[in-house]
């Protein structure tokens, strides 16, 4: 927008096109004294104080002013595009895009080497007060003797892995905060092995994009590789130094302090290393929750 010519002051003379602008306008000289506190836009203030005060307001015909105002109003018209959020079909699409953008930004913010805060034992939520959340049943009735973790996808050694094999990997115990999407959180003590250890064991292609898991209760989840390789991401078989109880996901669950609770699937039965999720990101994600949800 260029500064407009609005000096027309004579009778019946219509002021120039467009909007008067602040800089260098004669109008400045006709303003109340306190306006002088502005240190800008008063280039000739030193001289004007010597001159007698002049009244030099630009003038504009009423009709012209109405036109100018209307034009200014119309410049806001693009904001009406937000009205698209009121159209049911468009709304769904737009919100999906918004959530997608948030997920994209979240992945950028994630730092693989940055650890979640760990807590002293005294800060732990007592085990009996650690909430149990599931989408269906507390205990899907896993038969422990027959249980294996079935590994498929981009790995050198696919197959069924017994719990003892997984537990032969280095044990890591950590007191970390578990944050639920609902808004509550609890600090728990979790034990297991780094998922990265297991990925190493099965010869996973860590340049693949995702780890996807399915569970005994038909819950399913997926995890980006960067978070899967995070040093606090565990294949977890212990809580509070004791084997997982059934309602907390026995015999094996994910414990991912860097992710929201619903990504930390329980009662694991299958693990796949893959580049495609075929629209199956996770049980809650596929209903509209964030797919990345890193903390």
């Amino acid at each position: 927008m260029e500064p407009d010519e609005t000096k027309a002051t004579g009778p019946n003379k219509i002021a120039g096109e467009g909007t008067p602008r602040q800089e260098g306008q004669p109008a400045q000289e006709n303003q109340p004294p306190a306006m002088d506190d502005s240190s800008v836009a008063q280039p000739s203030s030193g001289q004007t104080s010597a001159e007698p005060p002049r009244i030099l307001n630009p003038q504009m015909a009423e009709r012209k002013f109405a036109q100018v105002s209307r034009r200014e109003l119309l410049k806001l018209a693009p904001l009406l595009a937000l009205g698209a959020f009121a159209i049911p079909g468009a709304q769904e699409w737009l919100l999906k895009k918004g959530l997608g953008f948030s997920d994209w930004a979240s992945a950028l913010m994630f730092r693989r080497g940055h650890l979640a805060t760990t807590f002293a034992d005294s800060a732990l939520t007592p085990f009996e007060k650690f909430p149990i959340n599931d989408y269906d049943v507390d205990d899907p009735g896993v038969i422990f003797e027959n249980w294996t973790l079935t590994v498929t996808g981009l790995v050198k050694k696919p197959g069924d892995y017994k719990l003892e094999q997984i537990q032969s990997l280095p044990l890591q115990r950590q007191n970390t905060r578990h944050v639920c999407v609902e808004g509550w959180d609890a600090i728990g003590r979790f034990g297991g092995t780094r998922l990265s250890n297991f990925l190493n064991m099965i010869g996973a292609d860590t340049s693949a994009r995702f780890i996807s898991v399915t569970c005994a209760d038909d819950y399913y989840e997926s995890l980006d590789m960067a978070t899967a390789l995070h040093p606090q991401t565990l294949l977890c078989w212990e809580m509070y130094d004791r084997p997982l109880t059934r309602e907390h996901g026995a015999p094996l669950r994910l414990n991912i302090p860097a992710k929201i609770g619903y990504k930390q699937a329980k009662y694991l039965t299958d693990l796949k290393v893959t580049n495609v999720l075929n629209g199956k990101v996770g049980y809650w994600e596929d209903q509209g929750y964030s797919g990345f949800y890193g903390l």
């Binding site: 909007t19 602040q22 400045q28 109340p32 200014e72 509209g288």
Partner: protein, 241 residues
């Protein structure tokens, strides 16, 4: 400064009379940011309250003590997942308009019109007296009086704190220092909630003042131009100098 003043004239026979003055108070970027921010604030508060409904407490999950049961009718999103979609979409509009606004104010020098500084302090008490009906109306030379400047400056700080507490809840690990500054994850969530009510308090006061100041003031946030001093008798020859 955006204090361009013009006189609005009306042709009357051979002569032209000044019938009103108009001040260009709100540059286009400010108006755009104002309305985008207002809309996004509305969505953020509504969806935020729907998110809050999922766990309306600031204590432990077990046992859960609810703080208040916010009615669903005054919330946006319908369910937790839907509300999060609204929240995580409009927060970017909220942040962007905030940044563009502050950037524009600093760059253009327009902040002088709005920013509350030490120089505004002496004017605070007279203005409070006036608003509380026991003092005369102080003379006002600037676009905004000291209390307005105070409110508009405070609300920028509030907005920034809303974003920071929001990030502390959303990314308590990546921004662990933020969560720490706020006193931990729980406090960050509580601050976010308290600040929202402070923000809504501002909005309420703002709306009351807009209503009290009338149509010309309200419309200026759309056109940029605020019409002052209509001379209603101006059409009568010789009624104004």
């Amino acid at each position: 400064m955006s204090d361009a003043v013009i006189e609005i004239t009306r042709a009357k026979g051979d002569e032209t009379e000044v019938v009103a003055r108009a001040v260009y108070e709100h540059p286009l970027p400010v108006r755009i940011c104002h309305w985008l921010n207002a809309i996004s604030l509305f969505v953020m508060a509504g969806s935020g309250l729907q998110i809050f409904r999922a766990f309306p407490s600031f204590g432990a999950k077990i046992p859960q003590k609810d703080l208040l049961n916010w009615p669903k009718a005054f919330a946006i999103g319908g369910w937790l997942g839907g509300a999060l979609q609204w929240h995580l979409t409009f927060m970017w509009i909220y942040i962007a308009t905030g940044l563009v606004y502050v950037g524009y104010e600093l760059f253009s020098g327009n902040y002088r019109q709005v920013l509350f500084t030490r120089r505004d302090l002496p004017g605070v008490w007279p203005m409070v007296r006036y608003y509380l009906f026991f003092g005369p109306k102080p003379e006002q030379a600037e676009v905004y009086n000291p209390l307005q400047k105070h409110a508009y400056t405070t609300v920028i700080v509030l907005g920034a704190l809303m974003v920071l507490t929001g990030f502390a809840i959303w990314k308590p690990i990546q921004f662990s220092w933020l969560a720490w500054l706020m006193g931990g994850f729980h406090w960050a969530r509580l601050w976010h909630f308290i600040l929202m009510w402070a923000m809504l308090g501002f909005v309420l006061g703002h709306l009351v003042m807009v209503i009290l100041h009338g149509w010309n003031n309200f419309i200026s946030m759309f056109t940029g131009w605020k019409i002052t001093g209509w001379k209603r008798t101006a059409w009568k020859r010789g009624s104004d100098g």
